[in-house]
């Protein structure tokens, strides 16, 4: 919302500078985003007099002029057709700096020297386009600084961000009302000098019927005849341009001027196009079509407030007029509409139409029903003055059920309780009255322009902002000893995260909206799709952390960052059943590529393989002390290489998958290196965490170890052998570890050697060699028998 400093001064006599006004407004909740001077600074431009003008010897369109200042006479080349001897002009001397940053230098133009420049208004930043140089209307003293002269007429655009609750501040007058309260000055009324010169009565020319009083509680009309369409006067154009309206013609400019100043949207119909001398306001029916001013045929949402004549709709109420009744250059008679529409109805229609206009924005934030008459009279008066028009007598004003002013009990105690203050009733009353709220007995009467005030909490805010938030007390924070529940989920997520960090992995944080194709690589279900995505790159919610993580890998590999060991914790998203919120569990992802360890002078390059990712997985799970998890061979993850994929299972829950990404997946992310990863569903995993663990006594007696190498069929899995030995090795066997795996020379075809280290230990005594040897020999025999194995020599 733009206003100008001088325009505000038309309604309030204040002394504050533009910056001071901006600060007051900002501190009162009307955030000033920018103050823009209308005259931009420049220097070195002085008043000069054109003494003579001669044709340039080498260029038809240029003139060689002599310009006199108080000190000297200069030769200047000028290209403007309107330059003439005797003119007083703004003369930029050599060294001058213009508002656009241009510096004036001595120049030679087509062989003739030029010492300076005669300026146009455009060049001085005073208008967008000039057709020639600016000749002053009056004589000025030669050599006077032009910027200083203009500065007396300087004005500033104050650009304010208006929050959606303050529809009343979408006008110069609305802002002036705030300025009056904030500076402690009275607010002046707008003077309206309406003559109504036509003998006819408006009521005889037009009938207005409201059939949709819910959507349009009030509708008023006036008839204006003999309008001469033409440009509006310069002062009006200048003000409109300053606050962001493009001047069009006097009639449009007048309605925009009233809109800008009073905040009330008006609409002008070409009276000759209104059939049957009547206006009917009614709600649209499904399937209705209408062509708006902008030549677009629009399908009307049901229950849109429509303005119709005897035969057809002529405007979408409060949003946009129709092409069929638009004011044109041939228009002489006008039906001027001023109405009040219900905010919710306009908001709904505007949203469904996808059409937001200056009018709809005001109506949906709440216009003032009391402004209906003021605005129509003001515009009619301006049309008399500026468009040579005559206005018919009286208004047709249909307002079947006038809106009541809201009343709020003035609860001083509650206001103080909210703010932590101890204001007395007088102070509060004074503050509320300064913004034109009336206080009667213990009631606050809210004027109709303040739609946002209905509760005592609202009054508390008004008092607070008028007192200034900075002047409200701040209570020194002291920890309140509430007994709050434990942040359980947070604690668990941090627990997982800290364990990952302790493994030396780099935490990354990736986006959760991804391409559909990326998502589909990691789920067989339909990914959770966004109806109105920002772009195809962010069309669905990630079903797996791998989407973003592989993108991060790709980004780094492309920049030659090679050794990547990443983890991430975040939500992933299940598919949508059409009714309930989708499953959105926290997930933990790890991806690794490049070297196993940072290479160095004594660390050779060694690429990661399956056993690195499995090692991360096992160490992580080991740190959680989950004793009931199983690692199973897995081939259902399409994005991982078959035969290089395992899964983690606890009871019936599949917690996650671990393995090597397929080439197709890597290609899809433009990765040419081998990448390994695992992902665990933390919502499932955390069910199995045990927090009340008790300690196990550390063994007091030494252990004995025995090594053995079995030759088994190469199809026999290591885990099968270990499991068998563990199960059948006797109660003194504490652990079985694989210390060597070998296949190759000296080993028969189709066999491989598995070296096992068995550890025996008793909690009660030191075991004798003899008894350990005995158990050891027994299990060796059993194993050989079970797997048809032999011992490796």
């Amino acid at each position: 919302m733009k206003v100008t400093y001088r325009w505000l001064k038309e309604f309030v006599d204040f002394k504050e500078t533009p910056q001071e006004i901006a600060n007051l407004l900002t501190e009162a909740g009307l955030e000033v985003e920018e103050i823009i001077p209308l005259v931009k600074p420049f220097d070195g431009v002085v008043v000069g007099k054109v003494l003579e003008v001669q044709k340039h010897p080498n260029a038809d369109k240029l003139s060689v002029c002599k310009v006199q200042t108080n000190e000297e006479t200069y030769q200047v080349i000028c290209g403007a057709p309107n330059v003439a001897a005797g003119q007083f002009v703004p003369f930029a001397m050599v060294g001058a700096r213009l508002p656009n940053g241009m510096k004036i230098k001595k120049a030679k133009i087509r062989g003739v020297e030029s010492f300076g420049m005669i300026c146009s208004k455009e060049e001085l930043g005073l208008e967008h386009h000039s057709d020639g140089i600016w000749a002053f209307e009056r004589e000025l003293s030669l050599g006077e600084d032009v910027y200083s002269i203009l500065k007396d007429e300087q004005d500033w655009i104050i650009d304010i961000a208006i929050t959606p609750n303050r529809g009343d501040c979408l006008s110069v007058y609305g802002i002036a009302r705030e300025v009056a309260a904030l500076t402690g000055n009275p607010l002046k009324e707008i003077t309206i000098d309406l003559k109504e010169q036509l003998p006819e009565k408006t009521a005889d020319i037009i009938k207005i019927n409201i059939h949709d009083a819910d959507g349009c509680p009030r509708y008023a009309g006036r008839v204006i005849r003999n309008v001469k369409i033409g440009p509006s006067p310069g002062w009006m154009q200048k003000k409109l341009e300053a606050v962001g309206f493009r001047p069009i013609n006097n009639i449009v400019d007048i309605t925009n001027y009233v809109l800008a100043e009073l905040g009330h949207p008006l609409h002008a119909f070409d009276l000759k196009q209104i059939k049957g001398q009547q206006i009917n306001v009614r709600a649209s029916k499904p399937g209705d079509l209408f062509v708006t001013l902008d030549d677009k045929e629009r399908k009307l949402p049901e229950n849109t407030v429509m303005i119709c004549d005897a035969e057809r709709p002529v405007a979408i109420g409060g949003i946009m007029g129709g092409q069929n009744s638009e004011v044109s250059d041939q228009t002489t008679d006008i039906l001027l509409e001023s109405a009040y529409f219900k905010p919710e109805r306009i908001a709904m229609a505007s949203k469904k139409l996808g059409l937001s206009t200056d009018a709809s924005q005001r109506f949906e934030r709440g216009a003032d029903p009391e402004n209906v008459i003021r605005a129509i009279n003001y515009a009619a008066a301006l049309m008399e003055q500026l468009a040579g028009a005559q206005v018919a007598k009286g208004i047709v004003d249909v307002y079947p059920q006038p809106l009541q002013q809201k009343k709020i009990p003035l609860n001083v105690e509650k206001i103080n309780k909210i703010l932590g203050t101890d204001f007395d009733q007088k102070t509060i009353r004074q503050k509320l009255e300064s913004i034109q709220l009336k206080v009667e007995a213990d009631q606050v009467i809210v004027p109709t322009f303040r739609h946002d005030l209905s509760l005592v909490e609202d009054l508390a805010e008004e008092v607070a902002r008028l007192v200034n938030y900075s002047n409200l007390p701040a209570k020194k924070y002291t920890t309140t000893f509430y007994e709050m529940p434990v942040s359980e989920l947070e604690n668990r997520l941090q627990y997982f995260r800290n364990e990952m960090l302790s493994l030396g992995l780099q935490e990354i944080f990736t986006q959760s909206m991804v391409r559909r194709a990326e998502a589909q690589a990691f789920t067989e279900d339909e990914p959770l799709a966004i109806k109105n995505p920002v772009s195809d790159d962010m069309a669905v919610m990630r079903p797996s952390l791998f989407t973003g993580m592989l993108k991060a890998v790709s980004h780094n590999l492309n920049r030659n960052n090679k050794d990547l060991h990443f983890f991430e914790i975040g939500r992933i998203f299940g598919s949508f059943d059409g009714i309930n919120l989708p499953d959105q569990p926290y997930s933990l992802g790890v991806v690794i590529t490049g070297n196993r360890q940072l290479p160095g002078w004594n660390v050779p390059e060694q690429a990661v393989d399956f056993y690195d990712i499995k090692g991360y997985l096992e160490t992580f799970l080991g740190k959680l002390f989950l004793d009931n998890y199983q690692i199973i061979l897995y081939d259902k993850a399409g994005y991982m290489v078959k035969g290089q994929t395992i899964a983690v299972k606890i009871k019936e829950d599949l917690i996650g998958v671990c393995g090597k990404f397929t080439e197709e997946v890597c290609h899809a992310f433009e990765i040419e290196k081998e990448v390994f990863g695992f992902e665990l569903n933390l919502d499932l995993l955390q069910k199995y965490l045990v927090f009340d663990r008790k300690y196990q006594p550390v063994p007091r007696f030494p252990y004995s170890e025995r090594d053995v190498a079995f030759l088994v069929d190469k199809d026999v899995l290591a885990a099968e052998v270990v499991e068998f030995v563990q199960k059948n090795g006797g109660f003194l066997l504490k652990s079985v570890e694989i210390f060597d795996v070998y296949q190759g020379p000296n080993i028969p075809q189709g066999k491989r050697s598995l070296g096992l280290r068995l550890r025996y230990q008793s909690a009660e005594r030191t075991l004798s060699d003899k008894e350990v040897d005995q158990y050891f020999q027994q299990i060796i025999n059993k194993t050989i028998k079970h797997f048809s194995a032999s011992l490796r020599n």
Partner: protein, 335 residues
């Protein structure tokens, strides 16, 4: 008997004369001082002697043993010193480095924010990112036609299910399941339909705060934000509250901190205002209490929000939000 002792002694000292390394020394140790060496076996011969000579011989043998051991140890020590000199390490060569586990900078800042509030007695709550219209809007006093819906361009799954545009829905969820007093923060990811550029990302991160109890006032809100500002950015940071509008708070405020780049003097970053806009706050609107089943006659409360990304950008002087989500290790390694 003395001859035996003398013989062992002279043989030993003769033997060590020619020793040149620790390796040469080892067979000598075994021959004389080992478990089955000359000294040990000599003890076995005590039994051969007449009773009265036995203690004397035992004593002499023990003395011999000590003497030889001393000589052996001195020599061994010399060899060790020599060896240390020969195998000198170049200590300037770099060590073998394991990968270092590092937190993502944004989450590091989130940790800091959380720690501050936990130290102020807040709990940490969480809520879904895919939310219902009810929790994200309706319950927060933002009905369907409210113009405030335009303040946040929303990404929808269906008409009633959406990506939360703020962390405020967690307020409602917590109030529904927990009676006041409530003193919580809820950090998390939120989504808006913004085109990505240096200062906008269609997803970013907020921390929501909510305190509800009897007798909570706007003065408490000012106090807690001040306490946060001081702990996050230092004791000289000032806080400014300005009136604003959020449908779910009344009165509503926006709060600013002293610009950390110019200490409030005015610079390019703060557009010469001396202030950095942080976020919004206010007293919980009675309609929000009603929607969440809290009695607004009995309780008052305040709520606040803050952007984690924004605070991280201020803290590390980062001027492009997108760099957080590229995860370039040359960036990540700086934190």
């Amino acid at each position: 008997m003395n001859e035996i002792i003398e013989k062992i002694r002279s043989e030993f000292f003769e033997a060590i004369k020619n020793v040149k390394s620790a390796a040469d020394l080892e067979p000598i140790r075994i021959k004389f001082l080992g478990r089955k060496g000359l000294v040990s076996t000599s003890f076995d011969r005590i039994a051969e002697l007449p009773k009265e000579q036995r203690p004397l011989f035992g004593k002499a043998l023990n003395e011999l043993k000590r003497e030889l051991e001393n000589a052996y140890q001195n020599l061994q020590g010399d060899f060790k010193k020599q060896q240390a000199k020969q195998v000198q390490l170049d200590l300037t060569l770099p060590g073998r480095k394991p990968f270092a586990g590092r937190k993502h900078p944004l989450l590091k800042v989130a940790d800091e924010i959380k720690q501050i509030f936990v130290s102020l007695g807040f709990t940490i709550e969480d809520g879904p990112e895919v939310e219902t219209d009810f929790y994200n809007f309706e319950a927060l006093n933002i009905p369907k036609t409210h113009p405030a819906r335009d303040m946040q361009d929303t990404l929808y799954i269906t008409e009633d299910i959406l990506l939360r545009t703020h962390t405020s829905p967690v307020q409602i969820r917590v109030m529904q399941r927990q009676k006041p007093p409530i003193q919580m923060i809820a950090p998390g990811r939120v989504y808006r339909r913004d085109t990505p550029d240096a200062s906008h990302s269609p997803f970013f991160h907020q921390v929501e705060g909510l305190v509800v109890d009897k007798g909570i006032t706007f003065a408490d809100l000012k106090g807690v934000i001040q306490a946060f500002a001081h702990r996050m950015f230092g004791p000289d940071i000032k806080v400014r509250f300005r009136p604003s509008f959020f449908p779910f708070t009344e009165p509503s405020a926006e709060y600013d901190f002293t610009c950390v780049f110019c200490q409030g003097q005015g610079c390019r970053v703060c557009k010469n205002t001396g202030w950095m806009e942080i976020s919004g706050a206010g007293m919980v609107h009675p309609n929000v209490f009603k929607a969440a089943g809290v009695d607004p006659e009995k309780y008052t409360g305040y709520a606040f929000g803050m952007g984690i990304d924004r605070i991280a950008m201020i803290k590390y002087a980062i001027d492009d939000i997108r760099i957080f989500f590229e995860n370039d290790v040359r960036f990540l390694n700086q934190f």
